[in-house]
Amino acid sequence: MNRDQIKSVVLSELYSIAPELEDEDIATNTAFRDQFDFDSMDFLNFVIGLHETLKIDIPESDYPKLLSLSGCIAYLESKDLPG
């Protein structure tokens, strides 16, 4: 799975939790919760969404790597996901 495909999966999971984001720009390097309403329950739903869509295990100790868009992309690229 390439970078663009990963980005599009991440964004679509974000939109399913916070539909109002679809019309907005999401800063790449800023943590989600510092730029829009995104609490721990939203984050949990987001991680569950990634887990279910990409069929990967995400241990809780990796959560800090998933706090921003660039973090998510780098983390998921390292997982070498099939396209």
């Binding site: 539909p19 679809e22 329950m41 949990l44 739903n45 809780e60």
Partner: protein
């Protein structure tokens, strides 16, 4: 024959709009079945029946706003199950529905369906409309070239009404500060070992089954309330009525602004796993604008947390007719004395605002001590 009435969903509610009927004439219902949804200032609430029976007639169609106590529908009692509603001569004398049927139909579908096919709509808005059961024919688009946006859908779902919600919050909080003599207590809890315990438990669980630490807070509050019951219940007609169950109202902020505090029921008797599943479901439904009447009206205490915003301490306002609200600040690593040495620990403030008519500070302090002890012995939760 029983009349099914518009319930009161809070002291401030005068009327609500029927937005959905889930049953049709001839359908059998049992106690507790959700039969309709109504829209109030605080969102859409599912309402249930309290008796078994068969729906004979719907008197208030979708789209109509009626006062609390208005007859929404007529049910036949369980003993009349076998009789077909139209064949029963007594039932023929039932009053006609107040609105004319044609007018009711117009209320339900105000926009001609022909406009639907040419309507522009974003995929997200379409998805949202499906999730919220919004008929797109009823939605006015405000996006580019009249496209329907997610905001339009939420508006149509009665989901984005900051003004009405603001009014409802203003009214409840003003009443609280005018009527309730609050007292406030606070303490600091060392959460280090408990959070380690939680991380260790979560490490072996699949992502869907992992617990967030808020669930520990909710359960600790419920167990402590069992030991200090004068903080759990309602102040009604000049006296305190304790609640047998601990129904914890969870203050949940909504995306479009405002907040609601629907309840998790009977928390003291539930496992952390059950609570986690129910908590997640409740938050998701509250944000989608769907909670039940029981969740909306039966909280016996409220729990609030602004910890995620980095707030260290909250001094909350009691939600009448409840008599207490428990608030948690964020977990922060700080120097702390343990066994005579200063060490870094993960600390969290917890505060209690309680109604001095129903309890005294001495009992409130005991309650906070219990909360603190439970939080430091998570195996008891």
């Amino acid at each position: 024959m029983t009349e099914f009435l518009m319930p009161s969903l809070g002291a401030d509610m005068e009327a609500a709009t029927v937005v959905e009927w889930r049953v049709k004439p001839g359908d059998a219902v049992k106690r507790g079945d959700i039969v309709a949804a109504v829209e109030t200032d605080k969102g859409i609430i599912d309402i249930e029946v309290f008796e078994e029976g068969i729906l004979q007639q719907i008197l208030v169609p979708v789209g109509e706003k009626v006062s609390v106590g208005a007859v929404l529908a007529i049910f036949n009692g369980a003993d009349q199950k076998s009789s077909k509603p139209p064949a029963d001569p007594v039932e023929k004398e039932q009053p006609k529905p107040v609105p004319e049927p044609t007018q009711a139909d117009q209320n339900a579908v105000p926009t001609p369906t022909a406009e639907k096919s040419t309507q522009r709509i974003s995929p997200a808005a379409k998805k949202r409309a499906k999730a919220l059961s919004v008929d797109l024919a009823n939605v006015k688009g405000t996006g580019a070239q009249g496209a329907i946006t997610t905001a339009d859908v939420e508006q149509a779902a009665g989901n984005a009404k900051p003004d009405a919600m603001r009014q409802a919050i203003a009214s409840a909080m003003s009443r609280s500060k005018q009527e309730i003599p609050h007292y406030y207590l606070a303490t600091t809890v060392d959460m280090t070992d408990t959070l380690d315990w939680l991380a260790e438990k979560n490490a072996s669980l699949p992502v869907q089954a992992r617990r967030v630490y808020a669930v520990l807070l909710i359960k600790a509050v419920a167990l402590a309330l069992v030991e200090v019951p004068e903080l759990n219940g309602y102040w009604v007609d000049g006296q305190f009525e304790s609640s047998d169950q601990v129904n914890v109202g969870m203050a949940i902020s909504l995306r479009q602004g405002g907040l609601i505090a629907p309840a998790l029921h009977d928390v003291q008797g539930k496992t952390l796993d059950t609570l986690m599943a129910e908590f997640r479901d409740l938050v998701n439904r509250a944000r989608a604008g769907r909670v039940s009447r029981a969740e909306f009206t039966e909280a016996s205490v409220t729990v609030s947390s602004l910890g995620e915003q980095g707030v260290e301490m909250m001094y909350s306002i009691i939600h009448p007719p409840q008599v207490a609200i428990v608030s948690f600040g964020s977990v922060i690593e700080r120097p702390w004395c343990v066994d005579g040495a200063v060490v870094p620990r993960k600390l969290m403030n917890v505060s209690l605002a309680a109604d001095h008519r129903a309890s005294d500070g001495h009992r409130g302090a005991l309650f906070l001590n219990h909360v603190s002890q439970y939080l430091q012995q998570p195996e008891l939760l």
